[in-house]
Amino acid sequence: MAEAVAAAPHSLPSGRTATGLAFAALALLALAACLLSIGTGAVPIGPARVLEVLTGGWADPMLARDSLVILNIRLPRTLLGLMVGAGLAVSGALMQGLFRNPLADPALVGVSSGAGLAAACVIVLGDRLLAGLGIPGPLPFALLPAAAFLGGLAATLGLYLVATRSGRTSVATMLLAGIALGALTGALTGLLVYASDDRQLRDLTFWSLGSLGGATWAKVAATAPAILPVLVAVPFLGRGLNALVLGEAEAFHLGIRVERLKRLAILLVAICVGAGVSAAGVIGFVGLVVPHALRLTLGPEHRRLLPACALLGGALLLLADVAARLVAAPAELPIGIVTALVGAPVFLWLLLGRNRLADA
């Protein structure tokens, strides 16, 4: 041991090739999911026609209907799904790295429920509030997403304030506070459910199950400035998150500004989840299953993991959405049901596999 043996060969070069291949596969999968999402739907449009529309045929009046379906319905829906899926998976991975717990999830620490509560508030109390303020007419549609976004941010900030003492964030306190916050927002949402009428109740249910059904270019335009910068920024947190895996003190010893890293990660998660929930409602399991599956195949190294999460999260959400709109066409299932149906068993399976590995 003391005598330095010549550098032992180990699997890095081949590891790098493997990583490159994995990323190529993920990118292909995401591309395939996009094509599938644009190419399929309740309105039957052949691949040739899709290509024709996409390559400039939209001006042709004979293609008017197909152009409309592809350009105004499927394309924004695909882009929104890609962004929301990527955002959810990346914020899941960030949260897990931050809490050094593979089961941590934005839903677990109350970020999603904070966003959901704010949405429920607008759905149930919005009309009355507007009437009280003397503003006539129906609720502005933009109010709901804005509220969800602010709700997610408020929940995260509240959580952070509770869990932070003299500039240090206790992960344990934060997890527990998150559970308490989840219970509180759950109770408040329950109160709103009680106060709501039938229509509002249905809207709440719709919101809580998630859907990409209302995707419009306006929503894409509102979501992109929130999620895309996060996706670009997130690999730069990789080194810090890797060091944080060893522990907060160890990360500091390795030269990481731990408090700043934690604050930044929390902010990015709030932005991603708030924007995602506001655009598509509450969609579960993406943030849990995608990072987990990638850690098993690609390894837990965060600079690889985070971009891979963005690709796989986007691809999987698109595939789930294609299933959601084809299974019961012309009706569609809430996408949250699809992700839960697929995600929960996969997650259980992953957990069992993990335990077997740990026991061996």
């Binding site: 739907g41 309740a42 309105v43 039957p44 009046p61 008017a64 209907r65 409309l68 379906v69 105004n72 319905i73 499927r74 549609f141 009680y194 009428d197 039938d198 229509r199 249905r202 809207d203 719709f206 859907s211 059904g213 209302g214 995707a215 419009t216 929503k219 709109r325 019961a328 066409a329 012309p330 009706a331 569609e332 809430p334």
Partner: protein
């Protein structure tokens, strides 16, 4: 644009099939393909003879039963899909208010398909207005006028019967009794609407909308009769509903065993069958009322 396109093709087909036939002129004014969303809208369209032109319905279109059997299902009224609706190539969407989500309806409108939301106040005027609106939108004005007259007459004879009621009964309308939670219809609900049409006083008027009610509030409401939704053959009997010890068992209704079971959709649907439903409820509540 798609609407124009398909209407033109259809018109051409109709002209080719029966040149000079009067139906061709009717078809030009009336939408040929209707997306009918909402129980009352579908029921009215079927009554108006518009069934062949309905291309898609929703899960709340339960009456008549053949609607959901014969037509594609667009899913739940409040969780529609834009592409799903457009895939049925409708010329018009006629829906009860509350259809959505709003973004989806906006996309459908953007595709050139007019979307009309029909208001649904739970009153006699509301029902008549609904019939005329649906008729006008579907280009079925004449049958709508006839149906409206028929329904108006039904409401008129109902009102005449109602006038003979000397003392309105306090009635509790129970929507469901799951796990001991009694869900009742309060004020500003379809339950309240049908009770007042049937000449009854809503015993749960302190509550707004459909809400679970506490045992104490049931006793305090002191209903003289209980109306329950009859769902299938295993509807609860008077013995179980008014079992001693339960809150309902301590109401005046329990002493008279006054439990009325009725079909929920007929009772709360506020469509063309509402006068009959209200009248049926009234006779059950006031068996001694002299017939008109």
């Amino acid at each position: 644009m798609s609407a124009v396109l398909s209407r033109r093709t259809l018109l051409a087909a109709a002209l080719a099939a029966g040149a000079g036939h009067r139906a061709a002129f009717a078809a030009e004014a009336a939408p040929a393909r209707i997306a009918s969303l909402g129980g009352a809208v579908t029921e009215i369209l079927y009554r108006l003879g518009g069934a062949p032109r309905i291309v898609v319905v929703d899960t709340t279109s339960l009456h008549p039963a053949e609607a959901l059997r014969d037509k594609p299902n667009a899913g739940y009224l409040r969780a529609l899909s834009a592409e799903g609706l457009l895939s049925t190539r409708p010329d018009i969407v006629i829906a009860t208010e509350g259809a959505g989500p709003p973004d989806v309806l906006a996309l459908v409108r953007e595709a050139g398909v007019p979307v009309h939301l029909v208001r649904e106040p739970p009153t006699a005027e509301g029902v008549l207005d609904k019939i005329e609106t649906v008729g006008r939108l579907a280009g079925l004005d004449a049958p709508a006028k006839a149906l409206a007259e028929e329904v108006r007459a039904g409401f008129a004879s109902l009102a005449a019967e109602r006038a003979r009621i000397t003392r309105p009964a306090r009635v509790l309308l129970v929507l469901s009794m799951a796990q001991g939670r009694v869900m009742v219809g309060g004020r500003d609900s379809t339950a309240d609407g049908i009770l007042s049409l049937a000449g009854a006083q809503n015993a749960a008027a302190d509550i707004q909308g459909f809400k679970p009610i506490t045992d104490e509030a049931i006793v305090a409401a002191a209903p003289e009769a209980v109306v329950m939704m009859r769902n299938g053959p295993d509807a609860p009997s008077a013995e179980t509903v008014f079992a001693p010890g339960t809150a309902l068992g301590q109401t005046p209704a329990a002493g008279k065993r006054a439990l009325i079971g009725m079909d929920g959709l007929t009772l709360l649907g506020f469509g063309p069958r509402t006068p009959q439903a209200a009248s049926e409820l009234m006779r059950a509540l006031y068996p001694d009322l002299p017939r008109g």
